[in-house]
């Protein structure tokens, strides 16, 4: 089957390491020599590192190898070192002599050639024989010692490691240093640390974690076949077949996203042969319906609707790109600047400023005026090689990021790369940056080209199709032909691909800014691009190796935007999460002492809603950029217990239950009350698009959707338009009114997902005008942060119970908070 055209490309797997020192990775041709023993042929450098002899001398002594060859790009060219007279190649016997009158030197062996008297008569000065190996190094003018910078950036290998790996080479000549540290199958993986000796150690820690996560992801997705599906057939605008079907989901199970690849199968019947085809998910509806665009239209049993099966086609692309980025980080000195290299590894680096003329004003055309903390952020970021911007909810981090990118692009350092882990965030940023007048190209994964995007006009594939110049007419003709016939003759296909690639390159190169996901930065279409300036939004939601992908394309100036007080990356494999894969690079840099620049004015929440999050998560620094008046819901008649405080905690005592799948929770009482609150909102004049229902549990989410559509007091359609989502999926988004259903209500068990303060922060900061929380205070108050939240609501007379039309302050007792989280 056709696997697309970028599958053979391996990011970061170039062969720039062939002549790298097998101990430390230094690969400067002037500094390395090859061991010339046929069974060995390994390269080593002439640096001592932390050992008593240089790496090449170490190897020769330990392995008892005695011949070497210089690199073809070294001053002497590819040369086997040997005695000029007798051809002896034992480097331990060789030394230089010079001619008596001329500045000519040759290699001569000590035994026996140096003791031949006749040489003295031949113009050679034998008194000053100068051994090739001196002070346990090769002569430094012959084989250069790597510079201090090169050495610092190399793998820091110890004498013990050298002994071990030399021992290993005796039985397995191709073994690498990584093999020394490979954990056994059942071992816990190494945990992440704060500082790394070098990028090799970094890779040693992260590569196994990424592997664990990839294996888990593969296992989970490939086990998710579903049978007996009912298909609704359609044909897309591009004339391709689209299959619609319902794909139910549960916690911890497969969650489909647009761009995923699925295989649709039909086992055949009397009238139809067995059939299968692969396609990409192009849409997911709120009703859990999946739209799958098939790659090939031939033979589709479009008159059949029942009895289909679907499997997930797992792709290793994103994990491969992370591994590739780590490798590039270690072996390719041009991957990132020296400063960034050492900084990311946690080495102490002398502070460096970026020498750039600062703009006179820090805002950008097409964007709202910046506030003081935003201006401060833009200004400091432009002067530093690495900066962190912390954007608490609603503080305008997209606008700030766009302004930064605008000024970076104007500095003439080449194209700026802008990334985020999620497509949604990339689209938002691309839109804002484009508003400043910069030329933006949004690069999408090939598998997502059919997925609709709010910034379609900025996408590379759209621009390729619509670049309407006459010289491109050939491409357009072929494109049209391909669209109509579904495929091209092989010669036309070749021509089409070449033209397309050329056009893609032309458009990408003429852009000021390239926007893509972090994983997208490893796309082969960017393989020959270099980006000195990189901004990563939502960086606290990416794993470290994911963040590294956009950085290893030549970064000299890096801006990480995010908020480590909100949710981090989702790691499915518990082992990998326990070992620290869930900690973002942003967080580690904070722990290393990089102080994030915090945006301090929030424009989202009613001031009453921002008070608790500001005090609990942001040391009280969050200021309100909106007034109470601007967040007054005029004309909305909703029974808020305190009129100026559009919030309440609605005491619920209903039991939690385990959902049908056995992997999640639901709470019927809370669901019923969610419906009542939604109905009250709708009756008071709020429209469905203003309301969001969020809950930490998938079981409850599905139950609420179902319950409202069956039991809603108003028209069913109204409830269908209301978004019911998990707290996690709502990060980065907002609604006018939020209803939060906590679900957990069991005296004897923990509160699971609710335990994570960052999840509570996200849940509390989604609403603009008002929030209703449903939960059991007796259970929740056991956790200190929830305890102080409940106390906060109680003190403001917003802890209530009873029917909605007659809410009363609750007298429920819970202990005083032990400590306030911060």
């Amino acid at each position: 089957e056709d696997t697309g055209d970028d599958d053979n490309y391996e990011f970061g797997k170039g062969d720039f390491t062939e002549h790298a020192c097998r101990y430390c990775g230094v690969s400067n041709p002037a500094c390395v020599v090859r061991c010339n023993v046929p069974s060995c042929r390994k390269w080593f450098c002439n640096s001592r590192g932390n050992t008593s002899g240089s790496h090449i001398v170490n190897h020769l002594v330990r392995a008892k190898h005695k011949e070497v060859c210089l690199h073809k790009d070294s001053p002497l060219g590819e040369t086997i070192l040997e005695c000029y007279n007798c051809g002896c190649r034992n480097v331990f016997l060789l030394g230089f002599i010079s001619a008596k009158t001329e500045s000519v030197v040759v290699l001569l062996c000590r035994e026996p050639c140096l003791s031949v008297n006749a040489l003295k008569d031949m113009n050679w000065d034998l008194s000053q024989w100068c051994p090739l190996i001196d002070d346990r190094c090769f002569l430094q003018w012959l084989v250069k010692v790597p510079s201090e910078q090169e050495q610092l950036r190399a793998r820091q290998i110890s004498a013990q490691q050298i002994n071990k790996v030399e021992e290993l080479w005796k039985s397995n000549p191709d073994a690498s240093l990584e093999d020394l540290e490979k954990p056994g199958v059942d071992d816990e993986p190494q945990s992440v640390v704060l500082k790394y000796e070098d990028a090799y150690q970094y890779q040693n820690v992260f590569a196994p974690l990424i592997k664990l996560e990839a294996d888990y992801d593969k296992m989970m997705k490939e086990s998710q076949s579903k049978d007996n599906l009912t298909i609704r057939w359609d044909i897309g605008l591009n004339k391709k077949r689209v299959a619609y079907f319902v794909f139910p989901k549960e916690d911890n199970e497969l969650r489909l996203v647009p761009g995923d690849e699925l295989r649709l199968r039909y086992s055949g019947d009397a009238a139809h042969p067995a059939w299968q085809s692969v396609g990409h998910v192009i849409k997911l509806t709120a009703q859990e319906e999946v739209a799958l665009e098939l790659r090939a239209s031939q033979g589709v049993p479009a008159d059949v609707n029942h009895g289909f099966s679907v499997d997930f086609v797992w792709k290793s692309t994103s994990f491969d790109r992370m591994q590739g980025a780590m490798k590039a980080f270690a072996v390719d000195e041009t991957s990132v600047s020296g400063y960034i290299y050492h900084h990311l590894l946690g080495h102490e680096v002398e502070v460096q400023m970026v020498r750039n003329t600062l703009p006179r004003r820090f805002g950008a055309p097409g964007l709202p005026e910046l506030n003081a903390s935003q201006v401060f952020a833009v200004k400091s970021v432009l002067q530093k090689p690495i900066s962190l911007i912390q954007g608490p909810p609603g503080t305008g981090k997209t606008v700030t990021s766009a302004a930064i990118v605008y000024h970076m692009a104007k500095q003439g350092q080449g194209q700026v790369l802008v990334c985020a882990p999620s497509n949604v965030a990339v689209d938002q940023l691309a839109e804002k940056i484009s508003a400043t007048g910069l030329k933006v190209v949004r690069l999408c994964a090939k598998s997502r080209e059919a997925v609709s995007s709010p910034v379609e006009h900025l996408t590379l594939h759209y621009q390729v199709r619509h670049l309407d110049t006459s010289e491109k007419s050939e491409l357009h003709k072929l494109q049209q032909l391909k669209d109509e016939q579904g495929e091209l003759s092989s010669s036309d296909e070749k021509k089409y691909k070449a033209l397309k690639r050329a056009t893609e390159r032309e458009i990408s190169q003429s852009a000021d800014v390239i926007c893509c996901t972090c994983v997208g930065a490893g796309d082969p279409r960017l393989a020959n691009f270099r980006f000195r300036q990189v901004l990563i939004d939502e960086s606290t939601q990416a794993t470290e190796p994911e963040c590294l992908i956009p950085l290893v394309l030549g970064a000299k100036q890096v801006v990480l935007v995010g908020d480590h007080c909100q949710l981090g990356p989702v790691i499915m494999c518990k082992k990998a999460a326990r070992a620290g894969l869930a900690q973002s690079l942003f967080e580690r840099l904070v722990l290393l002492g990089v102080k994030p620049i915090r945006l301090q004015v929030q424009y989202r929440m009613h001031p009453a809603l921002s008070e608790f999050p500001s005090n609990s998560f942001y040391e009280g620094t969050l200021q309100n950029g909106v007034t109470i008046n601007e967040r007054q819901s005029s004309g909305i008649d909703f029974p808020w217990p305190v009129p100026n405080r559009p919030m309440f905690f609605y005491v619920q005592m209903g039991q939690e239950e385990i959902s049908a799948s056995g992997t999640s929770y639901l709470n019927r009482t809370e669901a019923a009350n969610v419906e009542k609150i939604v109905t009250t909102f709708l009756r008071s004049g709020v429209v469905p698009s203003q309301i969001g229902v969020i809950t930490p549990y998938e079981g409850q989410r599905a139950y609420i959707v179902n319950y409202m559509s069956r039991n809603g007091a108003l028209r069913q359609q109204l409830y269908k338009e209301i978004e019911v989502a998990s707290v996690d999926s709502f990060q980065g988004r907002e609604k006018d009114y939020i209803i939060l259903s906590c679900v957990r209500s069991n005296e004897h068990q923990g509160i699971g997902f609710l335990n994570d303060p960052r999840r509570l922060n996200v849940a509390l900061t989604r609403a603009r005008y008002g929030i209703v929380i449903l939960g059991n205070p007796k259970v929740l108050s056991k956790q200190p942060l929830w305890n102080s939240l409940l106390t906060h609501y109680k003190e403001h007379e917003c802890l209530v119970e009873g029917p909605l039309n007659n809410l009363k302050q609750s007298m429920v007792q819970f202990p005083k908070p032990k400590k306030i989280y911060n």
Partner: protein, 123 residues
């Protein structure tokens, strides 16, 4: 312009490790010498003529060997110290070849040639 100043502890070489290594290195040297002595009993034939073209080429710039910063970009640590240009004579198969290289002026290898040169200049 990618200059970076990393403050890092200077790793100390373990004296025991250093002593052990020195011993191993000496052993390899010793072994090599003995091996050679056993291999070659007779006197080696001499094959050490300096090809004439080497002399010819060098006559013109005989006094111009100051070298140093003469376009040697790769070398960062040369600093101010002067270097001397030499020709390294190698054999490729049976063909002789010379390659230019720079040697630190204080290298013992060229002390005698330098003295000679100085003597010549005085004359």
């Amino acid at each position: 312009d990618d200059e970076v100043h990393v403050r890092q502890k200077v790793a100390e070489v373990d004296p025991q490790e250093e002593a052990d290594f020195e011993l191993d290195l000496k052993a390899v040297m010793q072994e090599s010498m003995e091996q050679r002595r056993q291999e070659l009993r007779g006197r080696p034939t001499l094959n050490m003529m300096i090809p004439m073209n080497v002399f010819e080429g060098s006559i013109k710039d005989h006094h111009g060997r100051v070298g140093g910063d003469s376009g040697d970009e790769g070398d960062e640590e040369s600093g101010g110290s002067k270097e001397v240009q030499v020709k390294v004579l190698v054999k490729r198969g049976n063909k002789q070849q010379t390659k230019q290289m720079y040697i630190p002026r204080d290298c013992s290898l060229i002390q005698s040639t330098k003295q000679k040169e100085a003597a010549e200049l005085e004359e």
